[in-house]
């Protein structure tokens, strides 16, 4: 395995990256881009995806020596904040951050050859892990690997509708039964990569509430290649998921920031009873609450970024706490944005409702608030 901890990026490079991300959002990814992308497959902008690859953004989560552009939590945050702020639909979280970190962490030949395909935008990757949609994110895994082939079912795979390759968690027959102490008494998992075009892969595609594509999968003897060391799937997943959760917080923060901007502008412009509604102290105080939640979200994301160098439990505590807070913040900010806009805030025409739905997805995608709160408390 190569050294895959998130290394520190020099300040100038980070600023250049952050600036270019922001500029692209302002110039190229408006609400119209988002809306027109929702109308047709692949339910994201293929042009934007090519642009991201050309600008090297897809390597934002990768170490420099793996052809990556950066390897710093702050780069993930800048990228995902953009996604939230502009409602970007492209598989940034699924492919660039989550799959990218997993491939980098696995670090063997099978992983590294795919890493460059991912970073170049030539292939889309997605993680297929959850097996029961009703469960929390980290439910039991029953999928199994025998003699080069994979069997089982996976659900709610974000961008599974378009993914070329899946990274699949499964139990290897040889290690099933031997319970690993590092896996909390659960059977050890390994990670495999599977080509979704193989006939033994059955894919059911659908869309998420926020318009992005997803899929469920059935594997009936699909050829699979081991990624990383056998039986180490759980710790690899745990580490990559921390990076993805940091990205998810940033995505939420971007959406929160955009929503608060819209709500504040509306309070100043909408007139009722002969004056702007923002003159009402009751509404001022509610807007202040939303502002404070946004500031706190920025702060906990900063804390989670800085925790990259800390030992496992401390980093876990910071990231899980950041997620728990941003879920609270995103929920209230989106509810209040709709409420303070009034009827118009409930329409498909305005961006407000689209952010509302995006935040609903963010707040459940990698587990709900209860799950993150518990993990935060346990990591202490």
């Amino acid at each position: 395995m190569t050294d895959t901890t998130l290394a520190s990026l020099d300040a100038d490079t980070l600023r250049l990256f952050t600036d270019s991300v922001q500029r692209y959002g302002q110039d190229k990814y408006g609400f119209d881009t988002y809306r027109s992308s929702l109308r047709a497959k692949p339910y994201f902008s293929a042009q934007a995806w090519r642009d991201y690859a050309d600008m090297g953004w897809l390597g934002a989560a990768l170490p420099l020596d793996e052809g990556g552009f950066a390897s710093d939590g702050r780069a993930i945050v800048a990228l995902m904040r953009y996604a939230g702020e502009h409602l970007a639909l492209e598989p940034l979280l699924a492919s660039a951050v989550l799959a990218g970190r997993l491939l980098a962490l696995c670090g063997d030949g099978a992983a590294l050859s795919r890493l460059s395909e991912m970073a170049g935008g030539r292939k889309l990757f997605a993680l297929a892990h959850v097996e029961s949609a009703g469960d929390a994110f980290d439910g039991p895994v029953r999928s199994s690997y025998r003699e080069g082939r994979l069997y089982g079912d996976k659900q709610v795979v974000l961008h599974g509708d378009v993914a070329d390759d899946l990274i699949v968690s499964a139990c290897e027959s040889r290690v099933t039964g031997s319970l690993s102490s590092t896996d909390g008494g659960q059977p050890a998992l390994s990670l495999y990569v599977v080509d979704t075009t193989h006939p033994a892969v059955r894919r059911t595609v659908y869309r998420l509430l926020d318009g992005r594509g997803a899929a469920s999968f059935n594997f009936d003897g699909a050829p699979a290649t081991l990624l990383g060391p056998l039986g180490k799937g759980r710790p690899l997943l745990a580490q990559a998921l921390l990076d993805a959760r940091l990205g998810l917080c940033a995505e939420s923060h971007g959406a929160i920031r955009a929503l608060n901007r819209l709500t504040l502008a509306y309070l100043k412009e909408r007139r009722q009873f002969g004056r702007p509604i923002g003159m009402n102290q009751a509404l001022q105080h509610r807007m202040v609450e939303l502002y404070m939640l946004e500031q706190e979200a920025a702060a906990v994301i900063g804390a989670a970024e800085r925790a990259a160098d800390l030992a496992g439990p401390q980093r876990e505590r910071a990231v899980m706490g950041a997620v728990a807070h941003t879920i609270t913040a995103g929920r209230l900010v989106s509810h209040e944005a709709v409420q303070m806009h009034g009827g118009i805030g409930t329409t498909d025409e305005l961006a407000v409702g689209h952010y509302f739905k995006r935040i609903m997805v963010i707040n459940r995608l990698l587990g709900d608030r209860d799950a993150h709160l518990e993990a935060f408390a346990k990591a202490e």
Binding site: V130, S132, A133, G134, D135, A136, F137, G139, P140, Q155, V156, T204, Y206, R207, L208, L209, D210, A214, S216, R271, Q272, F273, N280, A282, L283, H335, V338, Q339, G342, G343, G345, T346, T347, D348, E349, G353, H354, F356, K357, M360, V361, R364, L365, D368, D370
Partner: protein, 400 residues
């Protein structure tokens, strides 16, 4: 208005049983749609109105002189509570609850003769034209104007959030007939035939991706003067009387009873971390809190009904019930989405149109649960936003 002294004494429990038995006879596919929040078409709503008509209850709360049953406030509350709980569709209120009582209270004899029978028989579908783009919470600021021209009014302006006007034969509107020092004084109540030339409907798609509400544009629409209700400039007063008739029902407590029961069932059938969700500490606690709030709301409703039965003038309690009722409805809906786990982020509005759809993920109820949550965000906005309701309590109850 009927004299309460001639009302027959009613045993509330017996009436409740009667309504409950009736609710069991509702068509199964209709209840199925309601229970699962599927899309209801005009024919579905009308079929319910027809069942009520056959039972003699379509306008139970109207005076007997106009074809009603002289229900007491308690009977009316029991009726709404029991039917909603049992999965009856939303009783489309525009005809039977809104314009009907205004017509028999303030309308002319010929208006009563012409419109009331057609409301009782569901021949006319009515819509309500109150809100405008610049006049929602500040309704008195409405600008749709009606200018007298011989024996017609010429109506020009725009209404918004008009529910199911795409199915309507008639719309009752608040329009401005005069500029006055107090904006409320120049408002009149007009009945407008939807077939009149100059009316355009533009659908509004809401974030649940459904089409329930619309914008309605009036471009020099000619309305016969005989369609003015009461006096010119009296519209605001009539609309206010109407709102006070609706007080106790705004809490929609029967609907919340039904939804809580479904949440209970969902929490029992869903597993979280290997055991039923209802046994998972944080969720069990949340469920208990929701049930407590439901109990409090129900108590408040019965208190208000008792006041109405005693003939006391309504105070600010309607606002309290609107606030608490809508908040409870939203929080139950959100808890149901959370109970779905990851299936709660999968949504296709097309599923709602199919009786036997199979959602991509999660239980059969999932699409309806998502729709109810998204649609329900408007519950704290429509019918007088909760901000306006709090202003009313501050003024009426507290003198602030």
């Amino acid at each position: 208005m009927t004299d309460s002294s001639v009302r027959r004494a009613v045993d509330p429990q017996a009436f409740r049983e009667e309504v409950r038995d009736f609710a069991l006879t509702l068509p199964g596919d209709l209840r199925h749609k309601v229970m699962n929040n599927l899309k209801l078409e005009k024919a579905d709503y009308v079929s319910y109105l027809k069942v009520l008509e056959a039972r003699g209850w379509i306008v139970g709360h109207w005076p007997a002189a106009y074809g009603g049953c002289d229900w007491t406030p308690l009977q009316r509350f029991i009726f709404e509570e029991e039917t909603s709980e049992a999965g009856a569709p939303w009783l489309i209120p525009f005809g039977v609850n809104y314009v009907g009582p205004i017509l028999y209270t303030f309308g002319s004899q010929s208006q009563k003769d012409r419109f009331l029978p057609r409301i009782r028989s569901s021949e006319d579908w009515w819509a309500q034209g109150y809100s405008e783009p610049g006049a929602g919470s500040d309704l008195a600021g409405l600008r749709t104007r009606a200018v007298r021209d011989g024996d017609h009014y010429v109506v020009t302006g725009q209404k918004i959030w008009t529910t199911y006007v795409q199915w309507a034969d008639w719309i009752f509107c608040l329009v401005r007939t005069r500029q006055e020092d107090r904006p409320q004084k120049g408002i009149s109540f007009l009945l407008i035939d939807m077939k009149s030339p100059g009316i355009t409907i533009r659908p509004i798609i809401t974030m649940d991706m459904c089409h329930d509400v619309n914008e309605v544009f009036f471009d020099e629409v000619r309305v016969p003067v005989e369609n003015l209700v009461g006096e010119e400039g009296g519209g605001w007063t009539y609309a206010k009387v109407l709102l006070s008739n609706e007080r106790v029902l705004v809490a929609e407590v029967g609907r919340s009873t039904r939804q809580l029961r479904r949440l209970d069932k969902l929490a029992a059938e869903t597993s979280r971390n290997g055991k039923p969700l209802r046994d998972y500490g944080p969720f069990a606690r949340r469920l208990a809190e929701l049930k407590l709030r439901h109990f409090v709301l129900q108590s408040t409703c019965y208190q208000a009904v008792a006041e109405a039965m005693a003939g006391n003038e309504p105070g600010a309690e309607a606002s309290l019930m609107k606030i608490r009722g809508s908040e409870l409805q939203q929080d139950i809906a959100e808890a149901m989405v959370d109970a779905l786990g990851l299936a709660g982020i999968v949504y296709d509005a097309a599923d709602l149109a199919e009786m036997g759809h199979t959602p991509a993920e999660g239980p059969f109820e999932a699409p309806g649960i998502l729709k109810d949550h998204l649609h329900g965000r408007a519950a704290t906005i429509y019918g007088g936003s909760n901000e306006i309701q709090r202003n009313i309590i501050a003024k009426l109850a507290l003198g602030l």
